[in-house]
């Protein structure tokens, strides 16, 4: 079975919400929609106080290059255009909407029929992705229209869909495969057409045999979709690791996947691409796992983007267990702890993971014993222990020479460290320092 060559770890999978079918989360009374839900500049609000909006109406327009449109996930009246604190307490521009009914834009096809045929030209597809505000749902929320506009002189040969879901606990992609396999395959075909590549590869880790089987059966009806079962190893879903696992190619230091002829998208993205192109539905919903070992029940939800963490917790489990240590948005490896539970969810959120106090606590740090486990675990072939020392002593130039910027912050080094050194934190600090140094030199 295929997998990437270098490094990697295998954390406890904990896919305890695997069998929870996707439920629909009710729409809350008040909605706060952040304008900054993607990588890049925030969208510019195009509504004012008092405006009536419908579900799917454009409320934030992408004016910068690296930006994506934001649509209203609810219908109602705009209360104010102001700022709001996001999940990490940082202030972001936002639009506040009072929810009234659930009136959708007439252009959106809400029928359950599956539409297979897509007559659009590649350019039209990319334009539509931009219009519908589609961003990558793997975590980085990179605007899709930029990814699928291949720069001149470069040629895409492979389209790779990441359905590895290598992060522990997350099951939203798995549920999408089980329940919407056909839509996903149509979405992948559309992306394949947009790129003009002969084959699309969907990489699925072998701990999801039912999904592999289901996708293989569905993919038979489509031309040029290959299902690639992959060995279970974290971080299989990282762009460069997935390329290596599926094609055997290696993205050189400082280069992008397109430099080796690859484009990688998340499975969730291909589902939202299907909805955007075939159903005219903008990206206004997330599929989100609510999970945790100590929770009374496990769930997978389709949630309107902008529903707050508190709303989700209240609806799914009532209230947090008394022993809760952390609420994490994302998986245990790369997810971030949520500080402000009143914050709205944003595009790309894949889970609300509730961790017990004992489970969430970091173990006390001890001295490095030079065992080299972090080097063996690093999927990028870097030397985390070295960066730790260099960053501590402010030897930033040297850290740069040792390719600190290649780090994908997957957390394997910290995970594998027997001394519990916060290596990933140190490297992230080092990367910031290197970037600041490079900016100062310019």
């Amino acid at each position: 079975m295929k997998t990437f060559k270098m490094g990697g770890v295998h954390p406890e999978e904990n896919k305890i919400s695997n069998d929870a079918a996707i439920e629909v989360m009710p729409v809350p009374q008040q909605m706060v929609v952040l304008m900054n839900q993607h990588l890049g500049a925030p969208a510019t609000p195009v509504v004012q106080k008092g405006d009536k909006v419908k579900v799917g109406q454009l409320i934030g327009e992408a004016q910068a290059f690296m930006c994506a449109n934001v649509h209203s996930p609810v219908s109602g009246t705009v209360v104010k255009v102001d700022t709001c604190k996001d999940a990490f307490g940082l202030t972001k521009p936002a639009v506040y909407i009072n929810v009234e009914g659930d009136e959708w834009m007439e252009t959106i096809d809400r029928t359950p029929d599956i539409k297979r045929e897509c007559t659009m030209e590649p350019k039209e597809i990319v334009a539509k992705l931009k219009e519908m505000g589609i961003v990558g749902l793997g975590g980085a929320t990179f605007p899709a229209h930029i990814k699928y506009s291949i720069p001149e002189g470069k040629k895409a040969e492979y389209l790779i869909i990441n359905a590895a879901e290598c992060e522990p606990y997350l099951t939203s992609d798995y549920r999408v495969m089980m329940e919407h396999a056909e839509e996903v395959c149509i979405g992948v075909s559309i992306l394949r057409k947009a790129l003009g590549v002969p084959n699309a590869y969907i990489g699925i880790e072998s701990n999801k045999p039912l999904a592999i089987q289901k996708m293989q059966e569905t993919a038979k009806q489509f031309e040029g979709i290959v299902i690639e079962p992959l060995k279970v190893k974290y971080p299989q879903g990282a762009e460069k690791q997935l390329i290596n696992a599926v094609t055997g190619r290696k993205v050189p230091s400082g280069k992008l996947p397109i430099d080796v002829g690859c484009v990688v998208s998340n499975l969730g993205t291909s589902f939202s691409v299907y909805e955007a192109i075939q159903k005219n539905k903008p990206l206004i919903e997330n599929i989100l796992t609510v999970t945790g070992k100590k929770l009374p029940s496990q769930h997978n939800y389709v949630v309107r983007i902008g529903t707050t963490y508190n709303d989700i917790i209240k609806h799914s489990i009532g209230e947090l267990p008394a022993t809760t240590g952390k609420v994490i948005s994302g998986g245990t490896m790369m997810g971030k702890a949520v500080v402000n539970l009143d914050a709205p969810t944003v595009k790309g959120n894949s889970s609300v993971l509730v961790m017990d106090e004992a489970e969430a606590r970091r173990n006390p740090e001890t001295a490095c014993i030079r065992c080299g486990k972090c080097m063996h675990a690093c999927p990028m072939g870097l030397e985390p222990y070295l960066f730790s020392a260099l960053v501590k002593n402010n030897r930033i130039e040297e850290a740069k020479e040792h390719n600190i910027l290649d780090c994908i912050e997957c957390g394997c080094c910290f995970f594998s460290c027997p001394a519990n050194k916060p290596l990933t934190d140190e490297i992230r600090l080092g990367k910031n320092k290197v970037r600041a140094m490079m900016a100062a030199k310019k």
Binding site: F88, G89, L90, T91, K336, A337, V339, R361, R362, P422, D425, E426, R428, L429, N432, K433
Partner: protein, 313 residues
């Protein structure tokens, strides 16, 4: 036997003489001409290599002084005026007397420590924590409490107060080199003039959020109401971005603003404790006479002043 010794001495002597000649010529050829003045200036400097002057170290500062020939724009903060005088003597130039400064931490210590909204268990580094989230207090502008400033200080002049979790400057030791101000990722620490009798008035907050929001995170936040600016007789206070700032070059420490501030964000340090109730703050200098009855009479330096908080931009 004697012959053998003689041969050995001769051979070694000849080799020694040969290399002495070679070394002499090499030394002549590769001689680095260096102004002996640099050494003399370097000798005068404190030698802490704190980097407060903006140069790589004390030697680099000495080189800069000598090559420039005067002290314009060059100042060794730890050395202060005494060192400046000595260097000026060596260089034979005039020196401007600088106002002595001190580092001031502009975040209200009274309010940190309570009301932690979260617990941070990541890397103990303010620079890193600043990139992750707002910090434990929930204030996006406030002190993060990991002590980057403490680590940066070469003079052991700044320490974390374990109770409040914010740094406290030891005024007696602080040389105003500015290393802590540079290390603070939120620019909370500022160098301000020490002021007469070490008495200073400053806004102990750098929060630029709108008033209502700032109040939610911290009861002592500056809400940008502008009352202080109205009451200031010297027009030393400016309010920008919902934040007030006192220009220490104009401030006469009359403390009118301290009384006026509704959130007590403006603090005064080293003033005598109010005996009864400070009678209407006097317009000019802090009352000179009452200082004698103050609990901090002479040599107030020995007593670390309560935390200093101050602002930067």
């Amino acid at each position: 036997m004697t012959q053998q010794i003689l041969i050995a001495v001769l051979v070694l002597g000849v080799i020694g003489a040969f290399f002495a000649v070679v070394l002499y010529f090499v030394a002549q050829k590769f001689k680095v001409v260096e102004d002996p003045l640099i050494d003399e200036v370097a000798e005068v400097l404190p030698g802490a290599n704190c980097g407060g002057c903006g140069k790589a170290g004390c030697r680099a500062f000495a080189e800069a002084c000598v090559s420039q020939g005067n002290l314009d724009g060059l100042r060794c903060a730890p050395g202060g005026d005494a060192v400046a005088q000595k260097i000026a003597q060596l260089l034979g130039c005039a020196v401007e007397q600088g106002e002595p400064q001190v580092a001031v931490v502009r975040c209200h210590p009274a309010n940190c420590g309570e009301k932690r909204r979260s617990n941070y268990d990541g890397l103990r580094s303010c620079a890193f924590q600043n990139t992750v989230y707002t910090g434990e207090s929930g204030c996006p502008f406030g002190c993060l409490g990991c002590g980057d400033c403490v680590a940066a200080c070469q003079f052991d002049a700044i320490h974390m107060d374990p109770e409040t979790g914010t740094p406290v400057v030891d005024e007696a030791k602080c040389t105003a080199c500015g290393a802590c101000a540079k290390a603070c990722p939120r620019r909370i620490i500022e160098l301000r003039n020490k002021g007469k009798k070490d008495r200073r008035v400053y806004v102990s907050c750098v929060n630029k959020e709108k008033g209502a929001q700032a109040m939610k995170t911290c009861a002592n936040a500056c809400i940008g109401c502008g009352k202080c600016a109205k009451v200031c007789p010297m027009e030393a206070i400016t309010v920008a971005d919902n934040l007030s700032y006192i220009d220490y070059t104009k401030c006469i420490a009359c403390r009118k603003c301290v009384v006026e501030c509704p959130t007590h964000a403006i603090v005064d340090v080293n003033f005598p404790a109010p005996a009864k109730k400070p009678e209407a703050p006097k317009p000019a200098e802090a009352p000179a006479a009452p200082a004698a009855q103050a609990p901090v009479p002479e040599a107030p330096k020995a007593q670390p002043v309560a935390a200093e908080a101050q602002k930067a931009q």
